[in-house]
């Protein structure tokens, strides 16, 4: 992608695109040692098809909890939550989303290709198509030559790319990513961000992306959800003015810095120094 992409000003997803995730007054509480801790309170959020939504905030603000609630890995304690118009549990059973965890969570006894094929096997896809899909999605994340390797033979960044290929290969329309690049160095992270951005552009899927990093959130997102801790809640939702097509250079632009500034202000306002 060249600098010219910076000039292209496509509009971000249409405001009337179908709703993928809808949360109203959503709350999640944990019970620890008989004490009730509100991990998330009164969250209202609408995510539409084609959105790239980042959840950003300090540790303990419930961003991972929100993602896990959407994925039905965590039961809400209040409010309503729909995914593709269904309950989160129904959506999970309908295999509505792909999930990328903080760690690659690859199965070490499986080759890279067979790790990617895992969801396809579980979903009962024929062998021929499984192989073809694994090949295609490994190429997509730039690991076409590593199909026969095993996870331990790959670097951390490559392993995380395998886990992304694994989440994409059954072609979900919703991708949930929980700090997928948190453990990687800056340069690897830049590369993967660009990769992910192009992938999102090409496929038109919806992405919910949890991150700590302001530049990462601003670079990738059409909307940035700023959250605050104790109790976990949303304090600002920023619609990005940046166009749909972006290159890494955009991070020096005035528009980008303005959005980043607003995110930082939001985070600072929500930060309690206790």
């Amino acid at each position: 992608m060249g600098e010219s992409a910076l000039l292209a000003s496509e509009t971000v997803p249409a405001p009337n695109a179908p709703v993928v995730v809808e949360a109203r007054g959503l709350g999640v509480a944990f019970e620890t040692d008989g004490q009730r801790v509100n991990a998330l309170t009164s969250v209202d959020l609408t995510i539409r098809r084609g959105d790239f939504v980042s959840l950003i905030g300090p540790s303990g603000c419930g961003k991972t909890t929100l993602l896990r609630a959407i994925a039905d890995l965590q039961a809400p304690s209040g409010g309503t939550l729909t995914v593709n118009g269904m309950s989160a549990a129904e959506a999970r059973r309908a295999r509505a989303y792909g999930y990328v965890f903080q760690a690659p969570a690859l199965y070490p006894w499986r080759s890279v290709a067979r790790n990617v094929m895992l969801p396809l096997e579980i979903m009962g896809m024929a062998r021929g198509e499984r192989t073809e899909r694994a090949e295609r999605y490994l190429r997509l994340v730039g690991l076409g030559d590593f199909a026969r390797k095993f996870p331990w033979q790959l670097s951390g960044g490559m392993q995380q790319r395998v886990s992304i290929a694994r989440a994409l290969c059954f072609e979900p329309t919703l991708l949930l990513m929980d700090e997928p690049f948190g453990a990687l160095d800056e340069i690897t992270r830049d590369g993967l961000n660009l990769h992910l951005h192009e992938l999102w552009r090409r496929t038109g899927m919806s992405v919910v992306f949890v991150t700590h990093s302001i530049p990462e959130a601003v670079f990738l997102s059409t909307r940035i959800v700023v959250m605050s801790a104790r109790p976990g809640r949303i304090i600002d939702v920023i619609d990005s003015p940046l166009g749909a097509a972006r290159a890494l250079g955009i991070r020096e632009s005035a528009e980008f810095l303005a959005v980043a500034h607003r995110v930082r202000e939001g985070l600072r306002a929500g930060h309690s120094y206790d």
Partner: protein, 276 residues
């Protein structure tokens, strides 16, 4: 390994002299070399010299037909077949128990104490009872011995498999949940392959135990064949050379069995790109 063998051999020869000397009819003036050569060539020594044991093994294995009770390989096979059958029982029982313990909460609480208690009962006490009880039911031969071998060997397999089936981390389990995977898929694609890495250490112990079980099972049954029977008759008639030859054969057998496990482990390792 070779140097350890060398040191052991030297010690063995040295030890044979004082142990065998009291039973020699030599006059007091006899020198050390006379004493040694006499102590190392007795008919029924307390401790036979290594070369006597090797010679016994050699003639037994090479100069008698394989089906003859005078051939140690025949006895080794009788014991090995019981041990292998016992190992089969142990694998089925051990894995079934582990699956039950991991998947059924009430079994986890109720079964594990019994599994551990079963191992505190001395096998020497259990073995004759099993043989007698099965004998009255008309079951004799291989099966009672295999049952005793299996009884000893299932424990390390159960313990290893319980650990292995529980080894998947929360993330690996969550992943399965995001695919809405059926419990059977979670078992076959996650818990089972993960547990194999924990099966092999247990299997190595189980192999040794199943051989011990098979040999011990041959002691009280008055068995005509098997290394255990050979040990028993050897000690009964003071045939110490025969007894030691059977002991060495039992050790060789366990080495062969362990090599078998190592090869199976290697095959799994190879299929997994070199790591368990």
């Amino acid at each position: 390994m070779v140097s350890v063998l060398g040191i052991l051999t030297v010690l063995w020869y040295a030890l044979a002299i004082p142990l065998n000397a009291p039973r020699l009819d030599l006059d007091e003036t006899a020198g050390l070399s006379t004493l040694a050569s006499a102590a190392w060539s007795m008919d029924r020594p307390v401790l036979p010299a290594p070369h006597q044991v090797v010679a016994e093994l050699w003639t037994s294995v090479l100069f008698h037909p394989l089906t003859s009770p005078r051939n140690l390989l025949y006895h080794a096979w009788v014991t090995l077949s019981a041990a292998l059958a016992g190992l089969g029982i142990a694998l089925v029982l051990g894995i079934a128990l582990a699956v039950g313990i991991v998947y059924v909460r009430t079994l986890d609480r109720s079964l594990m104490p019994w599994v551990i208690a079963s191992q505190t009962v001395p096998v020497l006490a259990i073995a004759p009872m099993v043989v007698v009880v099965l004998g009255t039911l008309g079951i004799t031969g291989l099966l009672p011995k295999a049952a005793i071998a299996g009884y000893l060997a299932f424990f390390p397999i159960t313990v290893g498999m319980v650990t292995g089936l529980r080894a998947p981390d929360p993330l690996q389990l969550d992943l399965m949940r995001t695919y809405s995977a059926a419990p059977s898929a979670v078992f076959t694609k996650l818990r089972w392959p993960m547990s194999l890495a924990f099966l092999f250490p247990g299997l190595r112990v189980a192999v040794a135990l199943s051989l011990v079980g098979a040999i011990v099972a041959e002691l009280p049954t008055g068995a005509q064949a098997g290394l255990g029977a050979r040990l028993l008759t050897g000690s009964y008639y003071g045939q110490t050379i025969q007894l030691w030859a059977a002991l060495v054969m039992a050790a060789l057998l366990s080495i062969v069995a362990l090599l078998g496990v190592a090869m199976a482990e290697r095959a799994v390792l190879h299929a997994r790109g070199g790591r368990l």
